[in-house]
Symmetry: C2
Subunit: 261 residues, 2 copies
């Protein structure tokens, strides 16, 4: 019995939705509404003390951290494999996942908080905001909310985040020189992980991630978009208003095809 607590198919929630849909595993979907701060409510913090999605519950065992949930699912349900059989390629897969998680997604997150969540923070009155902040379990998360509710990130931090996304686009394009998928010959957790970042890159850093600068990345994004597992994940519920969906990969792709078509 698999249960997934998740938000819309974006960012960390998307990593696990992409996995489950790719693999065709049955699961009970538990939508957690981040825009109404449901992830900090007592009932959810009782499940994940960090107050973050996604969370997998498998026969009563609670697993957190999206990239580790995917490795766990792969340990439990190894067929068909989403990790390369070749162990050097498997290490390469993990290096890519680590790079995306530690270097690129935090940079994307800064821009997401600045562009989207800031509008949410500013729509909440001060007393309600303080009440909501008192419930945030992770100090780091509370600090980010307070930063965007104030003067937001500095120009330096924003510029450095865009720089990092440009570096990430170049890295992805370089890795794709080794084969059609990021870890080489076979579709893997590296592709799943990278898609949650890469679908937004052409719109955010076109000079580095557009088709001219990163042709292999552009072709890989098309291969990703065409996968039934990706389409199924993107079709999952999304309660975020259209006007706030800066980072919805599906929209991003649609925008790009409008621009080029």
């Amino acid at each position: 019995m698999l249960e997934l607590y998740h938000a819309e198919p974006v960012a960390n929630s998307m990593k696990v939705l992409l996995y489950l849909k790719e693999k065709g595993l049955d699961f009970t979907s538990r939508y957690v509404d981040l825009l109404s701060f449901e992830q900090h409510e007592d009932w959810f913090v009782a499940i994940n003390p960090n107050g973050q999605v996604p969370v997998l519950v498998h026969d009563g065992a609670v697993i957190t951290e999206s990239s580790i949930i995917d490795e766990y699912l792969e340990d439990v349900f190894p067929d068909p494999p989403l990790r390369p059989a070749d162990l050097v390629a498997r290490a390469r897969m993990r290096i890519i996942v680590k790079f995306i998680d530690e270097y690129a997604l935090p940079a994307l997150s800064v821009i997401g908080w600045h562009r989207m969540l800031r509008r949410i923070a500013s729509s909440i009155d001060a007393d309600e905001f303080d009440r909501l902040m008192a419930r945030v379990p992770l100090k780091e998360q509370e600090m980010k909310w307070r930063t965007i509710a104030g003067e937001s990130f500095s120009e330096d931090v924003l510029a450095d985040s865009f720089r990092k996304l440009g570096v990430a686009a170049g890295k992805l394009d370089g890795w794709l020189a080794n084969g059609p998928w990021l870890a080489g010959d076979t579709y893997s957790l590296a592709d799943i992980n990278a898609y949650t970042l890469a679908a937004s890159l052409p719109g955010l850093v076109p000079a580095e991630a557009g088709r001219d600068a990163a042709p292999r990345l552009a072709e890989w994004l098309e291969r990703m978009d065409a996968r039934p597992g990706v389409k199924a994940a993107l079709a999952m519920p999304n309660k975020v208003p259209e006007s706030l969906r800066t980072f919805s990969p599906s929209m991003q792709r649609a925008r790009q095809s409008e621009a080029t078509g």
Copy 2:
């Protein structure tokens, strides 16, 4: 044929040395002298374009990133296992490794750069420093060198780093409620990873990591110190002058036993 490019048995180099010595695997040691910036020389950047240690070369295949090197070695040499057989415990092991790598070690690194590497930066004349900086492959590393060569990290950043180390001490002590080792019943990659952090904690954040506040952590450190694999790793070459060894775990332990004995 295993070759390891590494520095002294501290931080990321230590993670792989602890693994290899625990497992009793033969390897050729290639010492890279970080204090003379050997990691940025052409011959080394040709092996790892990021200019960072450790790097494993296994039958010609180059593997980087210490935590991933250990997972790779475990994939290749699974016996005796250093990952729990129980898959939920294995996921817990990976969550701990991820927390150490993403949350705690960067905080420890800030303090290490501030206390130790700053003294190195200030001992180099300006022209030579610029020449060395021009060779640093990673922009982020160059920025850290330039920060500590200037006014160093702000008081806020340093205070927040100490706060995070206190949080990490509490987490480690909490996880050890589940058994003698971090992932439960068996010694694993989580213990190896955490030791590179935790051996320094009682000295840096005694209020949170001392025996009174974190008794399980104190006992676990004693169990770690007693392991032959840990002793063998700590006995590896170390060219860092005694006066600069702020973070040598062996010294840390020695200092503590002096203080308590």
